[in-house]
Symmetry: D2
Amino acid sequence: MMIVMSTQATPEQIEHVLARIREEGFTTHRSDGADHTVIGCVGHLNPDTVDPRQFELLAGVAQVVRISVPYKLASRTFKRDDTVVDVAGVKVGGREVVLMAGPCAIESRAQVEAIAPLVARAGARVMRGGAFKPRTSPYAFQGMGEEGLRLIRDAARAHHLAVVSEVMDRTQIEMVASYVDLLQVGARNMQNFDLLKDLGRQRKPVLLKRGLAATLEELLLAAEYILAGGNTQVILCERGIRTFERATRNTLDISAIPVLKTMSHLPVVVDPSHAIGIRDKVPPAARAAVAAGADGLLVEVHDQPEKALCDGAQSLLPAQLDGLSREIKVIAEVIGRSYGLPV
Amino acid sequence: MMIVMSTQATPEQIEHVLARIREEGFTTHRSDGADHTVIGCVGHLNPDTVDPRQFELLAGVAQVVRISVPYKLASRTFKRDDTVVDVAGVKVGGREVVLMAGPCAIESRAQVEAIAPLVARAGARVMRGGAFKPRTSPYAFQGMGEEGLRLIRDAARAHHLAVVSEVMDRTQIEMVASYVDLLQVGARNMQNFDLLKDLGRQRKPVLLKRGLAATLEELLLAAEYILAGGNTQVILCERGIRTFERATRNTLDISAIPVLKTMSHLPVVVDPSHAIGIRDKVPPAARAAVAAGADGLLVEVHDQPEKALCDGAQSLLPAQLDGLSREIKVIAEVIGRSYGLPV
Amino acid sequence: MMIVMSTQATPEQIEHVLARIREEGFTTHRSDGADHTVIGCVGHLNPDTVDPRQFELLAGVAQVVRISVPYKLASRTFKRDDTVVDVAGVKVGGREVVLMAGPCAIESRAQVEAIAPLVARAGARVMRGGAFKPRTSPYAFQGMGEEGLRLIRDAARAHHLAVVSEVMDRTQIEMVASYVDLLQVGARNMQNFDLLKDLGRQRKPVLLKRGLAATLEELLLAAEYILAGGNTQVILCERGIRTFERATRNTLDISAIPVLKTMSHLPVVVDPSHAIGIRDKVPPAARAAVAAGADGLLVEVHDQPEKALCDGAQSLLPAQLDGLSREIKVIAEVIGRSYGLPV
Amino acid sequence: MMIVMSTQATPEQIEHVLARIREEGFTTHRSDGADHTVIGCVGHLNPDTVDPRQFELLAGVAQVVRISVPYKLASRTFKRDDTVVDVAGVKVGGREVVLMAGPCAIESRAQVEAIAPLVARAGARVMRGGAFKPRTSPYAFQGMGEEGLRLIRDAARAHHLAVVSEVMDRTQIEMVASYVDLLQVGARNMQNFDLLKDLGRQRKPVLLKRGLAATLEELLLAAEYILAGGNTQVILCERGIRTFERATRNTLDISAIPVLKTMSHLPVVVDPSHAIGIRDKVPPAARAAVAAGADGLLVEVHDQPEKALCDGAQSLLPAQLDGLSREIKVIAEVIGRSYGLPV
């Protein structure tokens, strides 16, 4: 942290600020320029417990500048090498681009048994499907619950697919973890800190979705909650942010991919289905994500999207998923990645 | 819901759409205009379980228009008269503008005992203070927990103040409710649906803060989760939304007050401290909120803001709170309200 | 500007950065902390011509921090005292809160003659009305042009009102200035730099509206274009920013008022009509603006809003304007201002 | 337009609304449902001159629904086939993906002569470079003016490149058009309607950049101003929108590409340099744009970006441009396009 004093600051004001900073536990480092005195604040044992805004109100202070990033374990500085997350043997964050696909919500045994082979055929390694659905309206379908998890587990196993599904509340973690290989935290729960803390204490990998209005820094701080608990297996997921544009459900922040790769060592996947919300626009966005360097995709697909109980309008048709998988294989190779399309 | 067919729609496409809508449980009502055929969809038993986007993808459909609002119990149509919430005898939503004030976080017995009389002196009816703090960083002060609730309870009682404090997780509800009169749901938890459902099943009133990126419709749908559980005592709280502007912490959406008053019968209070994040700008925003018709204010105050463990930079000084209370009394009276400043 | 070197920066990298900064015309000031070397960059003759981002790409640089604000003449540092703008004898930015009211668009002689006495009766000092309308659609009414300016000039004169109207293009300035007392720059033109430069070269005062996506800093930089040309008579106008919320036309940024007052010495007025877009919500927002410290209001009023050619839906009825004027008089007095309601 | 009456609307209110709509020039079409009466409004000669919001205020009206899109000539309905714009023989919007590259600002003869061969070598067909720069600060470099245009014209001709450059004001159109093949309208000028109208009256093709806060509908309405003047040669350009995220200069709206392709027949190109603002993130975003279906790219490149007078931080190095061109060739072919990389 650096404190820039105003050009009008008096010597007394500068002394008072120095004293307050030392009181707070920092070592100070003063340098007097022609216009400004700048005070460097270093050596605090736990600088992130300090709210820099409190110094902005001291008399004579012009500006307070935070230097260090507030996340540690999630940062590229802390760990230079890419983290590769192991989802029941599927490596996310390595050379291979990983497709995770399936329905928005698990609806029935017949449904997941129909969809699982389509997903496997397209080269996906992980099957997705929600059993607990965070719905904006209390009157919308809220998911099948534990029974749904049992169904997707069985359907996925028959096609050698790992399973990812959402956990909405800390009280569900143990139960959900007994069925799935990757625990998803939804966008609305990105700052449900009690949930994050408990996910840090268990050992299943976590797929953490970016909140609709979360900055990339906040996404990494949410990941930090999980990492700080001792669970190093976190996958970040860009799924669109909320902007003024209404033509799409959300705005996919495509540059989040290379930016997160610089800020952090964690793998980054993209969910184009929720970002866009319109079936025909999902494949272009999915291709774009791979071209921009995503480690994987999370895509909704349905064998009968017209009848889906949830988000049918954004679910790909099986043929669209096949076409997409062929395209991303080529794009992945352009940038030195691979995609495991079955021969 | 109305479905507008494209000008190029064929008779077969129109028939197919009519069939699909009936299959979904609606009665249809067709009208053929010069350019467009429009299909009215009525009579569904539970229209909110239907995702209108699914019809947008049918061949020949130009546009799907939702007519009814998706919330019911929270709507002004459902209940014409203003709801007045009773917080341990303090009426929120009636003629009187209600001030709720206190520190961001409960820090010690000495702190709450110093602040409670300042709060009472300014005419506040409710004391605020957090015992469980949702912090962006895992390394920031996370609150005193249950011990803090005991301290604020005691300090408030001595000055005849009710207490509001945040509940972060469904597992805490019962315990927090045993100390406080009004359960606060924070902005980050506005769509923590499991928490909302459980708050609907108990009977303490709830103060529901708007999420940083939540539309007013989504705020009312979150309230609907609580109301649908049988708890009719919900207070809505505008606390700033996230925009591109960086000069303030968030952007206070002042027109949310009159707009919510038209959409809903629930009381609306404003938290200018979190919306703005800069002490000197809080009183102008607080006055503005009362002038715009807010039923109350939630304001941070601290006897020693320089040393506050949390959000000291946005906490009012005691003298600022006194000045503010005199101003809002006059403004409240301009618009036919009152403010209970002690003589 | 300060440059924070990475913790891994080598001595060679630091030397290279120092050299580059000096080459750019700065004097450097190096301080080596425990973790970071920080380089202060001072003494540049024209620091605002330097793009700080260029230094971010030099090897070993962690962060570049801009210290000075990029606007000068518009800043409170440059001029401590409030600027009072003289609009044909009406003082904007002084003790009195100034109301500017009138129709969105000038439509006919009968219209402006009907509205002018309503405006005067409510205590307004300035009549507003557009002759050149920037319309999103090329098919919408584009305004009456010069003939409209003649009509509003006549109607306003009969009631001792000054006139404000929009100038859309630099080629119109001289002509518009021959009819009006205050030249309005619309939100869409806030960064039409050729227009701003020409407005700086003439001497009629300018009302500069904030762009829909402009930060407050950018608004002040736009004002700087006018001030730098030698015209010191600039009034800033907050008129709502674009956010994700759809319940109102735009989101009125109420805290922009006190924030601009700190950043700058220029007067700040608010246009609640364009910010909100719904007639019944305009008076609460207008009261809020005065309560937050606005120097004036720009409000749309129409004697027959149902038949208005432009923005009838947000124009106040005459009786609403009367009620509003009585309310703002009381609110103005609460905060030490006045409002000149005729007895 | 359809008007949905409230469930409580009286027969008198319905009659009044019907009368007002007819008065406005519409033919009405009434249908009485179980809950709502819906009034279809058709047959208006010029429906876009009508502000639907005015009907929302009539007693008994619940909702007004616009059916037709407000742009005509720009819409895919008006013209089914893709428009191919001819830029001095370079076809934009056809099978080939077109690269336009060059410096942010023209700085000297030496500079453009150094950059032009790099641009041609990478397979670009059009050279970009600004002579008139819209700068946020009045103190920043404002461009070389007409002399700059002469320099880029000469440098481009020597390498068989077409030229695109920005026109900031209507008074410059004729002069700029005498040097360049494609007239660029900058993001800040997207709603400078006088400029758009004049560009519609001349015959050079226009590259229209999306405003920072413009919806896609508003972009098409801005294009409509040009098309309505008789100039059919318009290229749309996505260049990032303003959101709350601060890690990048703007947020590239990647899904704007497929969405605009559905709404309109006009070609769509992407400017990743301005969208992202960080050199190393530009190639991933550029690849993503081609993967999402863009008809072309507008990219900044500089032979000495460390010394660029403008936006050096986001300009590619020559070697990066070469690498990018090889990647986009492969990606273009994946989706049935081509890229003309020289052998």
